[in-house]
Amino acid sequence: MTRRLLVVGLGNPDRGDDAVGAMIARSLAGRLPAGAALRERAGDMLSLIDDWHGYDAVICIDAAAPAGEPGRIHRLDAARDALAPDLAFASSHAYGLAEAVALARQLGLLPRDLVIYAVEGLGFEAGAPLSAPVAASLRVASERVAAEAQRLARHGAAAQA
């Protein structure tokens, strides 16, 4: 039986590299396993806890704060590992992705599999396009998420580890 899969692109599509989550999500239209849901979410990340209710597996794609290697693609198994407290995603709101995951874990509301792909950003100016290093990593990031989606639809994230 196929597992219920959700892929969510996170971030503000009008703020430089914060758009990378939405852009990767858009690139995945038509390339996900049959029955998988594809969604974008900007702003309030607490609503993610509702978004992933009822799904066996979820992939979140977000921009990570600059750490010296823009365009680098990070893969995190959030259902298995606690996110490092100093992990910085790009959100100015009181609750970002890391807080939503920590709260859901505390409340027992995490999906069985939750994998986060985070692309390290360079600039987050309002109205700016993607930076060159992030734009250059788009295709590879999209392919990795597509492959992860196929894997998660068939097996759990542990199969990747």
């Binding site: 900007a42 702003g43 309030d44 607490l46 609503s47 806890i49 509702d50 100015s92 709101h93 009181a94 609750y95 807080e99 920590a102 709260l103 505390q106 409340l107 027992g108 509301l109």
Partner: protein, 430 residues
């Protein structure tokens, strides 16, 4: 020997946006409390001129992801005021319903997720959830209910797109609203529990002599309409706002400070609305407030958490009433014909009055815009509270003062992003 010290918070958590706080203490007296707002100005009033009134609701919705309806409602009421349009009946009721949604999602987020941990001694709602998991889950359900109202009436949860001058681009059917009623019934019961839960919190002994300012309507708890009144006799049409209030630049904040020209600091938001409109609440909610230890006026800013709970109950009940009475209109909006003129809008955002004025050309193009958000209006009162709260604890260790001051700021649910328009605390002792 004279002693001085400074306590500083460089970044305040559990608020929307970024700011800091500086406290100066000399010889056992708090000499200064400054709320430093350093978010960059956003220039909405600068780029609205030249745009059409038809674009206005969608542009101002972008001022805030938490309270976009406040900005949209202020804007469309100002447009209609300028063009001589009146929106009544079911369309007016739908505007109250979408505002209920915004109050529910905003108040639920603040009361349960941001403010309650202060009173129970947790650093955040995540740690609080370990022992109060059901309350947190219920808070998330309340918030979801508010978001759902925005999604169904506004087209989407964040920065809704269905609001226009004259009404809505699309009016919902009865079937669209039916699932909301089921969520609202459960949310109303949760909100009553939230009132009782917060009423049992430990509150510091602290009240202030505020001048409350809020809208007052002849027969409704206010959302979109009413006269602007205060607890010290102000009673004006919203068009007269600039005669009585002014905004001042202060060096330590990118947000303007609003004051009453004649009397200085004033308070907007839940405490003000409640004190000036207690008699407009249904008897059952008045009784709940009394059961929670509130009189018809509450001047304790820490108890604002319970007053927000009361407003959550009201918003759920009002939304249920509107849905039960809903008779879909034949169209989503009434006709709007632009003309040259000036229009005013003033509505009750979750954090207090949000005032708008626009000048329009004959073709409806905006010539000038002015928007006064609630958090900038409350800044002088926040600083006065900080001084009072810190003075009562002046001999306590700095981290105790710092914690209480952060809690005092969160009493206001400040939306710093809107106010620039927020927080880091520095206590200066020497």
């Amino acid at each position: 020997m004279a002693t001085r010290k400074t306590i500083r918070v460089d970044y305040l958590a559990r608020v929307e946006g970024e700011g800091a706080l500086d406290l100066h203490i000399a010889d056992g007296k708090v000499t200064e409390a400054r709320l430093n707002i350093f978010e960059p100005p956003r220039f909405f009033e600068g780029f609205l001129p030249g745009r059409s009134y038809t674009e206005l609701p969608d542009i101002v919705a972008r001022i805030c992801g938490i309270c976009p309806i406040a900005y949209q409602m202020g804007a469309v009421h100002a447009v209609e005021n300028a063009f001589g349009v009146t929106v009544g009946g079911q369309l007016r009721a739908l505007r109250r319903l979408i505002y209920c949604g915004e109050w529910i999602e905003s108040h639920a987020l603040h009361v349960v997720m941001l403010h309650a941990p202060d009173f129970l001694g947790y650093p955040d709602a995540i740690r609080m959830a370990a022992e109060h998991g059901e309350v947190v889950k219920n808070g998330l359900f309340l918030k979801k209910t508010g978001n759902e109202i925005l999604r169904i009436l506004g087209g989407r949860e964040i920065h809704p797109v269905n609001v226009r001058a004259g009404g809505f681009y699309h009016a919902p059917t009865r079937a669209d609203l039916a699932p909301l009623a089921e969520m609202l019934k459960r949310s109303r019961d949760i909100a009553v529990d939230v009132v009782r839960w917060t009423a049992g919190f430990p509150f510091p002994d602290f009240t202030q002599d505020y001048e409350f300012v809020a809208l007052r309507h002849p027969d409704e708890y206010p959302f979109n309409e009413g006269r602007l009144v205060s607890s010290r006799g102000l009673d004006i049409d919203i068009a007269e706002y600039e005669n009585e209030f002014e905004e001042r630049h202060v060096a330590h904040s990118t947000a303007l400070h609003s004051v009453l020209k004649k009397r200085g600091a004033y308070l907007v938001g839940p405490l003000a609305r409640y004190a000036l409109n207690f008699d407009r609440l249904p008897a059952s909610i008045q009784a709940l407030a009394r059961e929670a230890g509130l009189g018809p006026v509450c001047a304790d800013p820490f108890r604002s958490i319970t007053v927000r709970g009361i407003e959550l109950v009201y918003a759920c009940e009002e939304a249920l009433r509107i849905i039960a009475d809903y008779d879909p209109p034949s169209g989503g909006s009434v006709a709007v014909e632009p003309r040259a003129g000036t229009g005013y809008g003033c509505t009750e955002a979750p954090r207090g009055i949000c005032w708008h004025r626009y000048d329009f050309e004959a073709d409806g193009v905006i010539r000038a815009a002015r928007i006064v958000p609630p958090t900038s209006q409350n800044q002088p009162s926040i600083e006065a509270d900080l001084k009072g709260v810190a003075q009562a604890l002046v001999d306590a260790p700095d981290d105790v003062i710092r914690g209480r001051c952060e809690q005092a700021i969160r009493n206001y649910d400040p939306c710093i992003s809107c106010s620039t328009h927020f927080l880091k605390l520095r206590v200066h002792r020497a």
